[in-house]
Amino acid sequence: MRFLLTSLILILGTITYCNAQNKQLLYNVKGLPQSLLNNPGTNVNFDGHVGIPLFSKFHVSAGSSGVNLFDIFDDSKPDVNRKVSSTIRRLTRNDYFKVHQQLEILSFGWRLNNGQYLSAGVYQEADMFAYFPKDPVLLVNEGNNAYLNVPFDFSDVSFTGEILTVYHIGINKKINKKLTLGVRGKLYSGIFNVSSTENTGLFTTRDDPENPNFYRHFAENINIRVNTSGYASLNNTGRTVQESTRDLLKRSFFGGNIGAGLDIGATYNLAENFRITGSVLDIGIMYQQHDVENYLYYGSYETDGIEPLFPDVAPSDNTIPYWDLFEDEVDRNLKDETVNEKYKTWRPVKFNAAVEFGFEEMFEVCDYRKTYKRRNYNLIGVHLFGVKRPRSMNYALTTYYDRKFTNNFRAKISYTVDDFSYYNVGLLLSTKIKKFNFYLAADNLIGYFNLAKSQSASIQFGMQFIFKK
């Protein structure tokens, strides 16, 4: 048990190392193909791209809305258990932990003869999200002694997790000088999924004087369900590592559970140097049908304890098995089942909206054979990001300054306010050597000076060839 708690704290602490899902540094960066994944309707200022396989984009991010390692392991306060207890009491059921990772396997795109930009690729994604299960953790850490007549609410348990491969193709079309629209179709190939989001149930210990014993314990409307897919077979201890690896690879290529989704986006130029952009990503559903296992615990029960009948033998002269009778009654009323029922999950839909203003116009060498679009060295903007989570939308608001120093080098600095931090400063650098582009972006830079006090971080980098006519 202690091992589990210690592992949980370390994992949660580690999570705080690495703000998830929100890729504000890559949003509205027109020179990078990855901006098309954040807004398929972005203005594309290149004519082709090919990512270096497995290296065109790696993103890992994590966040914890209410706790960091320093809260638990502050070396100036030696009583770690007091810190754990006070942190558990301080956190709320709406505090959450999340980890997000993306690895682009293939990425390419080119401008079609009709001027539209076609982009496609494959990426692997992992996304884990859990609300802090406040009441169950409180019960396990402190027990019910200090919480008589106070219900422990099992609806606090809510988490999702998935690992999948995404195959996508998108088209970006400039409708007119003002409007660009884009859409991306996605096919999801599920590797693993876990979901437990609609739980209910209260456990209460009441000391009502009307009760026949000191306390009556109530388990009311318990309904806990954990859906999994892609877990049961891996949990099969008889399989070799090679068999499991082969199975995982098969699932990556539609050998397991599948789904489909859509990204839509648009850019509208209010003026040459003033635009609004927006996108909705992952409007998608997954059908979990293979290798599905669901763990259920449900029912209601109340007890005052065991009631001996005196004398201690039944008419048959056998001792009355009070405990067995009690256990049977509990099992009849609180059922524990494992079933194999198909289920579907919605992908965590995200939206982006931004307003961007450019200044200091760029002057390019005059060539009467080319048509030039007015561009600016400097861009400033405000970007709102939202992601749907089981209980609500989570938001992040970013302001940014994007400076193009030369045709081959740009930097973007951002300041984000979200559930993790009020002083999240991020930096993106993107450089080109001829057609080869490398970019690196990191969030919450101040947090890196002491990761123990940081509640979120993200890093992403990639390299690719970008072509311009």
Binding site: L5, V80, N145, I306, P308, F310, A411, L440, Y448
Partner: protein, 183 residues
Amino acid sequence: MSFNKHLKIVVLLLLFSVVIVSCVKGIDLDQTEEIALTPDLQVSLLTFDVTGIDFKDEDSGIFTPIIRDTVRLEFLDDSYIQDDLVTVEFSFKYTNSFPHPFRNKISFLSENDRTQHVVSFDIAPGDKNSPVVTDWVELIENANIDVIKKSIKMVVEIEALPNQSPFEGELKFESKGLFSFEF
């Protein structure tokens, strides 16, 4: 080298340094060794309500001054009790409306019926209109906790100590355990 090239190198180095030279300060991860869950769980144990009928032999109808019953507490054998139980505080409460005193004996027995721990106390006589409450708290501290870890049965024995008054009334029993763990 142009200003922009210098700037590019400086900024790239700066970003790399921030990411690579990032550090963790002011924490002591050795404290993980000391992390423990210490729940205090209040658990209802046995409850009953006996009257004069319970002191009569079922077959012969003859008064029997001593009655007893045994309840197996199987959870005492579970690993969380065996490995992580630190203290137990048992609370027993009798509410007596018999005008007679009783002698109570609660025994904790092992699987082979060896007595591990006994709690004995007298139950004060009461009155039909004003029952008397007798409370008893038995603390089993860490030094002595093995007596509970070795137990699996709880035997409740009540001995009536009759007097001249009619043997009529009700004897209610309540019990609970406050189990303190360190996981």
